[in-house]
């Protein structure tokens, strides 16, 4: 990934955009963090948040008129969060920390005329940056109209404290008789700010033209002005403070010889790209303070607790995988980028990249269509190209794919036909998991169209998901060749994944889902209570098939139970994107989260989803169980083991050929495998077939050992990329399998030590 691509990805996730309160604050105060911290009753922490962005905190925090409240998302749901009142309570409850950090002194001098809030802000901001500041004020003392406020609004002691802090920051206060034009004519410093929120003499006032509205610069070099708010203005204080802040930014840029405007972010006035879902927000009324001017601590905490903690996280809220890694796509894009940028050393994000289900739910949910699937798939392809994809990540799925495309593959016209109008492509999962129902469905399809051929194969999705572009494109060419040799019939798939792969990668082939055909036979099936229909994630962008499935169910009189995330928002069953290969525990969590979304029996029209979801013990039906009463499987049937799927595909091929399966020599060995051992095999992805081959090798003189005392035997053989070990006992001609394990390392030369 290039830097530029990273920027492009990052820009698409708006989770880091400011919430409305912050966008509505001219000082950019983080109202969200402040309110959340207040709600936790951490008042000192809340004050520290204000101090990050607020100048003259004792004054501004007490007097700010809170324009942010105009924008607050809570507004329509019981009234905006009273951030102004919360700030007041916070500041009057927690004493200041005292010292403020000051940057190293700089040589250029700043002169300020006037001592209103805007001038004090300029002084504060620039003194902090290390500039020596001289502030001229009238003889009665600095503060201008702040001095006229009642004690209850701004205690004199607070004003004095803030002025004293300015002195410690290096501000020199100089009393003058009049704030008039002569003052800056004699000495304007290196830059001069004229604060109009003070009693300037009319001669000075009339000579000031209107400043630039963004930079507050006047035409004269090094001259700035602000504090322009009229006396009765509802946001008088904060407006003047904000003008002082903007002028200070300009003065700093000016003194450093930088452009006043280059890449300067204008005030947002409540504008933000942050999206926050409000459909589940309940109205909660604003806390009414007993003393209207001041919240009590308790009232403030309750008020702060109304804050909605505005965030997007639309994708993260619904995706177990995205939530698992504790952040959101903007930071994930950085993670993926860093992972690609590393040449040597540990690639921390390999597992992260390989765990995405590539299901596309995030893209559908995201207001900006951020696709983690695209990000992760691109990253996987790069890993494969650069030859650093962990060999074990997709190993098993790829083996299964290759076997389904060779050993158990088959294509032929209907038994009594020599051509095919359409050809049935059940997909390797349905074929393996439900061979009997696959044949039943095939029979029904031939009733609808006699010239229906059958094509047992894999669509190549595992190679695609694994990022193996080369293998996938060979796969595609092979499929295209077979289709051509069959006379280019229409392809009917029973698997949403196959359908998607055909549509997106083999556009020359006309393809449809079998579920769009009138499959119902009219035969009366079992009547069942409402079922929770879960759409396969690969049907997300296929509304026609989803509708057709619902139409079939309606025709059969089957009621559906509500399931929140369905249709185009549907969720992955835990198999998608081969996430299981990279992180089996996470895949289990994904599956568990899905079945937890509805009580009662689930229904799906993908064989993989059916068995994946059934792993949790949840009753799950396949659409075929409803369509053909004569081949129904019970909803609580255990999922087919990996070995059973292989055997299922073999059986299906043999039955389609109307032949007995041809036995490999090792298939004659008699094995006994107890249930716990079978479970172990499943978890370790060891097929019964693998065991047979190992034992067969051993019988032919391959590696095999025998325990010196207890009669256990051990056999091992390398099959492809993996060495398998089988521990067994021979009991009257039958192999009793006790344990099996495997490793990927190879054993080289050895010798005695």
């Amino acid at each position: 990934m290039e830097q530029q691509e990273l920027r492009h990805w990052e820009a698409r996730c708006i989770q880091e955009e400011p919430p409305l309160c912050r966008a509505g604050c001219p000082l950019g105060v983080d109202g969200r963090s402040f309110a959340r911290t207040m709600a936790r009753e951490d008042l000192a922490g809340a004050r520290a948040i204000l101090e990050k962005t607020m100048p003259l905190i004792g004054i501004v925090g007490r007097l700010c008129e809170a324009p942010c409240e105009q924008y607050c998302l809570r507004r329509e749901f019981g009234g905006s969060i009273a951030l102004g009142g919360l700030e007041r309570l916070c500041l009057s409850s927690v004493p200041g920390r005292g010292k403020i950090l000051r940057l190293p002194a700089r040589p250029k001098k700043v002169r300020i005329l006037g001592s209103g809030p805007s001038s004090l802000t300029v002084a504060f901001d620039l003194a902090k940056k290390g500039y020596p500041v001289v502030l001229l004020h009238l003889a009665d003392g600095p503060g201008a109209w702040l001095r006229d406020l009642p004690e209850s609004a701004l205690p004199t002691s607070v004003l004095q404290e803030e002025l004293a802090r300015l002195v410690t920051l290096g501000v020199t206060f100089q009393p003058v008789a009049d704030l008039d034009a002569s003052l800056y004519a004699t000495d304007a410093g290196d830059a001069c700010y004229i604060g109009q929120d003070d009693a300037l003499t009319p001669d000075l006032r009339t000579m000031l033209e209107a400043p630039d509205p963004m930079t507050f610069a006047l035409a004269g070099p090094g001259l700035f002005t602000g504090g322009l708010c009229s006396v009765g203005h509802p946001y008088r204080l904060i407006t003047d403070v904000s003008q002082g802040r903007e002028a200070a930014v300009s003065i700093d840029r000016y003194l450093q010889g930088a452009s006043l405007t280059a890449s300067r972010v204008p005030l947002r006035h409540g504008q933000t790209d942050l999206f926050t879902e409000t459909k589940d927000v309940a109205v909660k009324m604003r806390i009414v303070a007993a003393d209207p001017a001041n919240f009590t601590r308790q009232e403030a905490v309750a008020e702060a607790d109304r804050c909605l903690d505005c965030q997007c996280l639309e994708c993260v809220k619904h995706c177990v995988y995205l939530a698992e890694y504790g952040a959101y796509p903007k930071t994930y894009a950085r993670r993926v980028y860093n992972n690609s940028a590393i040449v040597k050393g540990i690639h921390q994000a390999n597992r992260f990249i390989n765990s995405c289900a590539l299901c596309g739910q995030c893209e559908t949910l995201c207001p900006k269509n951020f696709s983690m699937a695209e990000l992760c798939l691109d990253a996987r392809r790069l890993m494969v190209r650069e030859n650093r994809m962990p060999a074990s990540a997709h190993w098993f799925a790829l083996l299964e794919m290759r076997a389904a495309a060779s050993e158990t593959a088959l294509v032929r016209h209907a038994p009594d036909k020599t051509s095919s109008q359409v050809i049935f492509f059940p997909g390797c999962q349905l074929a393996g998991i439900r061979p009997d129902q696959t044949l039943r469905l095939y029979a029904r399809l031939r009733e609808l169209q006699a010239e229906t051929g059958i094509w047992l194969d894999c669509c190549g999705a595992p190679a695609h998901w694994a990022g193996r572009e080369e293998e996938f494109s060979q796969f595609r060419d092979r499929l295209a060749g077979i289709w051509d040799s069959m006379g280019r019939p229409q392809v009917l798939t029973a698997c949403s994944t196959c359908l998607k792969i055909f549509r997106e990668h083999l556009p020359e082939i006309t393809v449809a889902s079998v579920w769009t055909l009138p499959l119902t036979t009219g035969a009366k099936g079992v009547s069942r209570p409402a079922l929770a229909l879960t759409d396969p994630c690969t049907s997300r962008h296929d509304p026609a098939t989803r509708q057709a499935v619902r139409a079939l169910l309606t025709a059969m009189g089957q009621e559906l139970a509500p399931l929140a995330m369905s249709g185009e928002l549907t969720e992955c069953c835990g198999f998608g994107g081969l996430m299981e290969g990279a992180d089996p525990a996470l895949a289990r969590k994904v599956t568990a989260a899905r079945v937890a979304q509805a009580n009662g029996v689930f229904l799906t029209y993908c064989a993989m989803c059916r068995d994946q979801l059934a792993k949790t013990g949840k009753p799950v039906l396949h659409l075929l169980d409803l369509l053909f009463a004569d081949t129904t499987h019970p909803a609580d049937e255990a999922p087919a083991s990996l070995s059973a799927r292989r055997a299922g595909r073999r059986l299906l091929k043999a039955k389609s050929l109307e032949e007995l399966p041809t036995d490999e020599p090792w298939e004659k060995l008699s094995l006994t495998i107890a249930a716990p051992v079978a479970a172990l095999l499943e978890e370790r992805r060891i097929l019964v077939d693998d065991i047979r081959q190992v034992l067969f090798h051993a019988a032919g003189g391959g590696a095999s050992f025998e325990h010196g005392a207890d009669g256990r035997r051990l056999a091992s053989a390398r099959l492809g990329e993996v060495t398998f070990w089988v521990e067994y006992r021979l009991v009257s001609e039958s192999y009793h399998i006790e344990r099996c394990w495997s490793h990927r390392m190879t054993i080289g030369g050895g010798g005695e030590s």
Partner: protein, 69 residues
């Protein structure tokens, strides 16, 4: 890297050779890396026994480390 990985139970016999296994240095290879490990070996034919604890323990760890998984 040099590791010693002998199982507690060394009482195993190579079936083809009828020889008891003995500790021996063996090379393990993975992704272009080589490790010398002490394992039970048949003194006659050199057959090596990899016990379950090793395959699913240290060996798996090293495999995953090398894969950056």
């Amino acid at each position: 890297m040099s590791l010693r990985f002998l199982p507690q139970d060394m009482n195993w016999i190579c079936r083809p050779c009828r020889e008891p296994l003995q500790p021996g240095m063996v090379e393990l290879h993975y992704m272009g890396n080589v490790f010398k490990v002490e394992l039970p070996v048949c003194p006659k034919c050199g057959a090596v026994l990899i016990a379950e604890e090793l395959a699913l323990g240290r060996m798996l760890e090293v495999e995953q480390l090398l894969e950056d998984k």
